[in-house]
Subunit: 415 residues, 2 copies
């Protein structure tokens, strides 16, 4: 099955909103074996909507739109597409009653008249339930089986409706013999793309007959395995085989799959071992703590730490000796180690991570260029440390530093 997507809205065309719906639709449909052939974005005029949808229908006979279902006057998706199918707009009494009830119970006041438009549907349309908002989605189909599914533009509503009501309809149409495109991503960090490629080249038979893409990003290098045009069971088996083959050479560097977050992985490992974590941050200024505490339930592992941005704080709260700072500089092996040991003592944790570096853009020297970062881990009194040279701008250097610190702890927890 081939589908085209039409995303509707002046906000998209003017660049005020980034089109995240399109990417979500694409990933979700690809997992069902549905390829998106083309994506079009058009503005909020009846003519541009009708033209874009008509052209897409002519090419594939199957179109999903997002946007333009709200109560405001610039929401023209429904009438434009109804006209393409030669349908009238009619009032759906059932939906009107539901909306009026919703306003009464939820907002304790009568529904504004402007919302009435949301209950106007093309005749013969099938409603797609919206469990996250008041505008229903719409499925319109002609006697030749050509269809348009209209979803709301609000991402939360669009995602809910896609999962709850549209995907089951699409699956119905695909039937049992559906061919899928399925991916599985191994997330690695601390190992370069070319190094991984060299290791993969040593696997006898490679990763089998699946596609392998290297996706370097600030978290590390993601390895995406993709199987196309296979049955669901076959795809899963081939992906499992390929992932197992990949792991024979990069097992250590893989911290999780798909959307795994290294902070969450480290928290779970620490929790299972009953260990507590503390941080001492200079150039990252709190990012490592922020990443760890972003995870719900982190409070049973994370105690806290010290943001030692200024050397005076390294001295006063972490007990880094002034002479050490003078002799080696704040970005140095001994200072990183002293910071880790210092925060471990100050707040009493099992594992203490310290980061000190030159995030840039200023502050670099020949000996310690921008991107130079020392990371230390005091693990139950045993201290290890390492020097990194991170690439990228200030934000990337900081992000990579927090990631490298988490990876240092993950590896230590696994030994």
């Amino acid at each position: 099955m081939k589908i085209e997507v039409v995303t509707i809205g002046d906000e998209l065309l003017l660049g005020y909103t980034i089109d995240t719906n399109a990417a979500h639709l694409a990933r979700t449909l690809a997992a069902e074996g549905v390829a998106i052939e083309r994506r079009t974005t058009c503005g909020d005029t009846a003519e541009s909507i009708a033209t874009a949808v008509r052209e897409a229908l002519d090419r594939t006979g199957a179109v999903i739109t997002t946007g333009g279902l709200g109560p405001t006057s610039d929401d023209l998706t429904k009438p434009s597409i109804a006209a393409l199918f030669g349908r009238e707009m009619v009032l759906d009494e059932e939906h009107l009653a539901w909306m009026q009830e919703r306003w009464r119970t939820r907002f304790q006041r009568p529904m504004p008249e402007s919302n009435r438009q949301q209950a106007m549907l093309p005749s013969g349309a099938r409603k797609l339930a919206n469990n996250h908002g008041s505008a229903p989605g719409i499925w319109l189909e002609d006697d030749r089986g050509r269809w348009v599914a209209m979803l709301p533009g609000v991402p939360r509503e669009m995602r809910g409706m896609l999962a709850d009501t549209l995907l089951p309809l699409v699956r119905e149409r695909l039937g049992d013999g559906g061919r899928v495109v399925r991916s599985r991503t191994l997330r690695t960090t601390g190992i370069g793309e070319s190094h991984i490629a060299d290791l993969v080249a040593t696997i006898d038979g490679g990763v089998g007959d699946v596609g392998l893409a290297y996706l370097p990003n600030a978290d590390g290098t993601d390895l995406r395995l993709t199987v196309r045009d296979a049955t669901s069971d076959d795809a899963d088996a081939r992906l499992a085989n390929a992932a197992a083959r990949l792991r024979t050479v990069v097992a250590d560097a893989v911290y999780g799959e798909d959307a795994a977050d290294l902070a969450e992985v480290v928290l779970e490992l620490s929790r299972s071992l009953g260990l507590s974590i503390g941080v001492a941050e200079s150039c990252t200024g709190g990012m490592l703590g922020a990443r760890l505490t972003a995870i719900p339930g982190s409070s049973d592992v994370v105690r806290g730490g010290v943001i030692a941005y200024d050397d005076a704080v390294k001295r006063s709260l972490l007990g880094v000796p002034e002479a050490m700072l003078r002799e080696h500089g704040a970005v140095s092996d001994p200072v990183a180690r002293a910071m880790a040991a210092g925060v471990k003592t100050a707040i009493g944790v099992d594992a203490a991570l310290a980061i000190t570096g030159v995030a840039g853009p200023g502050g670099g020297t020949e000996e310690k260029p921008v991107g130079t970062v020392w990371i230390a881990l005091d693990f139950c009194g045993e201290v290890q440390s390492r020097r990194y040279v991170m690439v990228g701008d200030r934000a990337e250097v900081r992000h990579r530093s927090a990631q490298a610190a988490l990876e240092m702890l993950r590896r230590r927890l696994l030994t």
Copy 2:
């Protein structure tokens, strides 16, 4: 001038990459008075590229593409579009020599053969300089004045090329009589959308003849003023007038314009007053410190702070009395105040911000539901505090808390 944009890449169509280039192009071109009529995304096949670009050219005669200029075999943009214009691909000796030199000096090794393709250009093409990468952009034009500009897909390279070389070309074509669409955004925080609307309603004559959009987000509410179809000078004058009118009612809440970051605003104000900043963070776990230190040059203002996620850290490093924690709970007015005063003493700063709250999803009670946050500011020994109930999920509650803390300091610095 009307333009269509075609973004090229399987990664976009599969949803692995979110199309941020499209939004950037739209915003940048709109500021020059160029309307993007439609945006199309197609995959990495010669046929789909040729079809999408041909259709777009037929509609507007002016097309910008992104993507598909790299050295790998799936980069087919140049030959596909060259064929549309009836042009051959020819080797550009000058660019080849430049690339070879670049490899020698930058990477200390010969250029790989696969990069040679990047020096193949459609005959009669105009090169667009790439100051951030090795693939040049291309401007191709026929004798009827129809043109296609091909930009790279890597956002940094695309943005640089757009600003450095494509915009001047587009401006040349627009001539002096160009009609522009221009926006100006006032960023507010700590004041609700409906409250602002009520205030705006009191302005005699409103904001004049410009559009006003309310854009609520986790930073606050942005107020976007837009003028369409005006001359450049006229647009600027009308926007200045509208912004001045808006400021008469919301001046206090406006912390900056367009892409202003509240952390940067606070840093600049503090720097100008010669004040230092420290933080004590519980539920935000380092986010406030991370935001402040994300700004280059923050080290002359930000000293650091304490991530007091666990109550034991609030006691040991911030000196919050155990009895106070027991009596009022960690999320309370006295504890927030004690945290601010504690970090001020511990690291010796002029302004100390403290945040303690229930970020959720767990931990809420009837008395202190999820989203309850106390923020305190110890400013040169004078302590103020306030209770907030932040809406949104864990990430939003934390983000809004850091923003509210910065705003508390900004307002104090202005008095």
